[in-house]
């Protein structure tokens, strides 16, 4: 990977100097040190490096760093006001970090925004549509705005209309479209210049289940085509299904990042085990009580539930032990925590 070897420091709200003498305020603004911005990882398509964004005293983004590998889907999860949109806007070159650096495909979003924009598709949480234009004109305008000309523009328009399933409504005015159709159109606009990186801010918000499934399918297809996708959403089950990695953010800070399984494993101290036993449920409950790693045993009809802290091997040993002991166990269910459980465990629900 080639290097962007210029020294860069971007301070939006930095302390200023009066006649060459630097003034330091009581605010947490940072001094403009020279930071060497080098992007070295070939496979790293999106990178945020110690990104801060302050609005007065509010730390909208507070020291966030993560990377997204090429062709991966990264889910950005966090409560409202956590800093998701702010950091996405920084990546989309629409805002400047107070401190830190961000790269898209090796190019700095601060120093080379035009190169970043060329390979980035950004879909904000609002539709951003025009009155008095139809879908075709809308997409055609953005194709022109991205510098697509002649045959290339027509080819991209046709592809986008087919991919998003909006060909039939191409000549309909935008104002008459349903929310789902508008969302498809906006996704089409995001894809019109064939960007390598997609940043989608709450793309599924307000959509009905069918539209959500369609959107999920499209994102999956885009990832299969090698696009790198950064997507934020409140619908965690969907994110868990479509994302390779997720980042959980709250109060401007990244609390956890990694694959969904890894975060679940890391955050999950207890796994719920349920044994369904014929006739001897109470006896089994007494027996397992006090076994290493077993807590909170309870009985519900034929089922004995317990919290188990141990790896898969220990769990297999536990099951084997009681089966050998002669308990008529007909079913064993192991429930790991869902992404929602992990999210609730990680975050505190504090809004800035």
């Amino acid at each position: 990977m080639s290097r962007t070897d210029d020294a860069t420091t971007e301070i939006a709200d930095q302390p200023q100097s009066v006649f060459g003498f630097r003034l330091h305020a009581g605010s947490p603004a940072l001094v403009a040190d020279q930071v060497t911005a080098v992007h070295t990882d070939e496979e790293c398509c999106i990178e945020l490096r110690r990104v801060h964004r302050f609005f007065g005293k509010t730390k909208a983004v507070n020291d966030i760093s993560f990377t997204v590998a090429r062709g991966h889907v990264f889910g950005y999860i966090g409560p409202n006001g956590a800093g998701k949109t702010t950091s996405m806007k920084i990546l989309a070159t629409l805002d400047l970090p107070s401190y830190g650096e961000a790269f898209v495909d090796g190019f700095s979003v601060i120093n080379d925004p035009e190169l970043v924009r060329n390979r980035l598709g950004y879909m904000p949480d609002s539709f951003g549509t025009y009155r008095d234009v139809n879908c075709w004109e809308y997409l055609d305008f953005f194709a022109r705005a991205y510098g697509l000309m002649g045959a290339e523009r027509i080819r991209r328009l046709r592809w986008v209309l087919d991919f998003t399933g909006t060909r039939k409504i191409a000549e309909k005015p935008i104002r008459g479209l349903s929310k789902g159709m508008k969302q498809r159109l906006c996704l089409g606009r995001t894809l019109i210049h064939d960007p390598a990186v997609l940043i989608l801010d709450e793309p599924a918000a307000g959509l009905d289940p069918r539209a959500r499934i369609e959107l999920r399918r499209m994102i999956g297809e885009l990832a299969a085509r090698g696009k790198t996708v950064l997507v934020s959403s409140h619908i965690l089950t969907e994110l868990a299904e479509m994302c390779d990695t997720v980042g959980i953010i709250e109060q401007g800070q990244l609390l956890a990042t990694g694959s969904v399984d890894a975060i679940q494993r890391e955050r999950q101290q207890h796994r719920e085990l349920v044994f369904r036993v014929l006739r001897r449920a109470a006896e089994l409950a007494d027996a397992v009580e006090g076994h290493p790693g077993v807590h909170g045993v309870s009985i519900e009809g034929d089922s004995v539930s317990m919290e188990f802290s141990g790896d898969a091997e220990a769990q297999a040993d536990l099951v084997r032990q009681w089966v050998i002991a002669g308990y008529p166990i007909v079913e064993v269910v192991s429930r790991s925590k869902s992404l929602e459980d992990v999210f609730l465990q990680v975050t505190e629900g504090v809004v800035q």
Partner: protein
């Protein structure tokens, strides 16, 4: 953007979906239309599509036609039967002017304002910002769309104006002068409206800026109407040479002033990391240079033209530098790595072009140098006006002003240094916009006058007292005395020394800030830019409007088809 283009694009999908053969001549037209459309600003294409379908345009255009038709019928009937033997052209043209002036000077500028404001409010400006369009292209596109609408209105009213001309009583140059005045004013007001649109983001600010714009438009409508109606009804009082000069000066003024507003509007849309000031500084420099040229040319037309020209333009430039200087001195001192890549690197470049680079230090030097140049030029022009063909009346007016010019330059330099210090202090605690420089300038000027005067009043037990050197920062009193030719010499030189010391002190203290080092652009960035430019050029050279593939594609496809056919047989 042509009508053919609009139709071609709108129907392109249906054309593409049909397999019926297209006649070659039609394909050629489509190709040409698409190529022409590709060369046009995308904003213009979009705005035209929007505008032609919008209720506002349909309503305005219909009303314009109805009003013109109504006035043609009513005006002609009212002037019966004199219309057959008396010149009735001016009366009819007044009506047509009024019909045309409302959309040209009011509706179109407001529509342009609303269009840009809507982009900001609806979040579409964000979407545009991440495309290949530059902020300047966005503003130019909006302006071009407004100009297109103006052309449509002109074309619609052309038969009516021709009808008025046939009724006699008005000559062709006057008609052209009135129409030119309307067009130039309409375009200038549209540019001012585009400058106002992104000025405020909050609701209160937007309402305030809209009210300010409305006031400007109404005053302009009245003033231009006064001028135009005077020309129509009383004829042109100027000689041919004077008319040519006024037209030339007006065009130069409007074009160069508009370029400042355009640059400022684009700067407001540009992100923080971009260089937002150099274009404005260049536009201001060009404006001042062009107007100095106009003033110098006016000398050849005699003192009666040269004196008012010099006075009006000089006053305008002075006010401009108070505003522009304050805003340049209030710029943020952050100079991003992106900006530093484009800094001049040669000795001469660093010597002359550094002052165009962003930052309050360079801004202050740029403003002060220009103010000194302006004052020197005005002094020389005043000298020429009085010495060459001077009358005693002009000499009496000019000489005191000449004496006050160096004082004005010194006071402005002193005040700008104060503005820079004040704004830098404010910015250390809060992020502030450059417009805060205007407020800072007002405060500094007020303090410079009021503080010494109040102290003097207090020391003299609140009784009237005479001027002393302690009042040297009191610019109002000092300049007043200079205009009355009562200013002591030592006060005059002390003011000059104050200005010079403040400016030189500023230079000494901010040496490093004034001369930032250039950063090299990374090789990969340069390569990527070259690659992108190459891609765009390649596509532009070989457009394929119908998506049928390029000539070489078709040749390849034809060869494949031939091979398939031979294999099958």
């Amino acid at each position: 953007m042509t009508q053919t283009q609009v139709v071609a694009d709108a129907q392109l999908l249906s054309i593409l979906d049909q397999d019926r053969p297209t006649p070659p001549w039609l394909e050629r037209i489509d190709r040409w239309a698409l190529r022409a459309g590709d060369a046009v600003n995308p904003i213009l294409v979009k705005e035209t599509r929007q505008a032609l379908k919008s209720r506002q345009f349909v309503a305005t255009f219909s009303l314009l036609l109805l009003a013109a038709l109504g006035w043609t019928v009513v005006g002609s009937l009212l002037m019966m039967p004199q219309i057959y033997f008396l010149p009735s052209g001016p009366t009819m043209l007044v009506g047509y002017y009024l019909v045309l002036a409302v959309p040209m000077l009011l509706v179109i500028p407001l529509a342009a304002y609303r269009s840009l404001e809507a982009e900001i409010d609806d979040g579409t400006l964000e979407l545009l910002s991440i495309t290949s369009l530059s902020p300047r292209q966005i503003v130019i596109g909006k302006l071009a769309s407004a100009a297109l609408q103006m052309m449509l209105y002109f074309v619609a009213l052309f038969p009516c104006v021709a009808y008025a001309y046939t009724l006699r009583g008005i000559d062709l140059p006057t008609v052209l002068l009135v129409m030119g005045l309307l067009l130039l004013s309409g375009l200038t007001l549209t540019i001012i409206a585009l400058f106002f649109a992104p000025l405020a983001t909050g609701r209160t600010g937007q309402i305030t800026s809209l009210l300010a714009l409305l006031s400007i438009l109404v005053v302009a409508e009245w003033a231009i109407g006064f001028l135009a109606l005077g020309l129509i009804l009383q004829g042109n009082p100027m000689s041919g040479e004077e008319t040519a000069y006024v037209v030339f000066a007006s065009i130069v003024f409007c074009l160069t002033a508009s370029s400042i507003f355009l640059a400022a509007a684009a700067a407001q849309l540009a992100p923080e990391s971009e260089n937002r000031t150099t274009a404005i500084r260049i536009a201001v420099l060009v404006h001042q240079t062009a107007l100095i040229g106009v003033m110098a040319y006016s000398l050849s037309l005699g003192p009666d033209v040269a004196w008012p020209t010099t006075f009006l333009i000089g006053s305008h430039l002075l006010v401009m530098w108070v505003v522009v200087g304050a805003m340049l001195s209030a710029e943020a001192s952050t100079i991003t790595a992106r900006m530093r890549r484009s800094l001049p690197s040669t000795f001469l470049g660093r010597l002359f072009l550094t002052w165009l680079t962003p930052g309050p230090a360079t801004g202050l030097v740029f403003a002060v140098v220009n103010i000194v140049v302006l004052m020197g030029t005005l002094h020389w022009l005043a000298d020429r006006v009085t010495n060459i063909q001077g009358t005693s009346r002009i000499r009496t007016l000019t000489v005191p002003i000449q004496d006050a010019l160096p004082l004005l330059a010194a006071y402005l330099a002193f005040a700008l240094v104060g503005v820079r210090a004040l704004v830098a202090g404010l910015r250390a605690r809060n992020p502030v916009r450059v417009s805060i420089g205007l407020a800072a300038m007002a405060v500094v000027l007020l303090l410079m006058a009021i503080v010494p005067y109040s102290i003097g009043l207090h020391l003299n037990e609140y009784r009237t007292y005479g001027y002393s050197l302690a009042q040297v920062t009191n610019w109002a009193w000092t300049i007043g005395l200079a205009l009355n030719r009562n200013l002591p010499d030592e006060a005059f030189y002390l003011v000059l020394a104050l200005g010079a010391i403040a400016f030189i002190g500023h230079l000494v203290f901010v040496g490093r800030t004034v001369l930032p080092q250039k950063l090299a652009t990374p090789r990969r960035v340069l390569e990527e830019r070259d690659r992108l430019a190459g891609v765009i050029r390649h596509d532009a050279e070989q457009p394929d409007p119908l998506g049928l593939g390029t000539d070489s594609d078709r040749t390849q496809q034809a060869n494949t088809d031939d091979r398939r056919a031979s294999t099958t047989s």
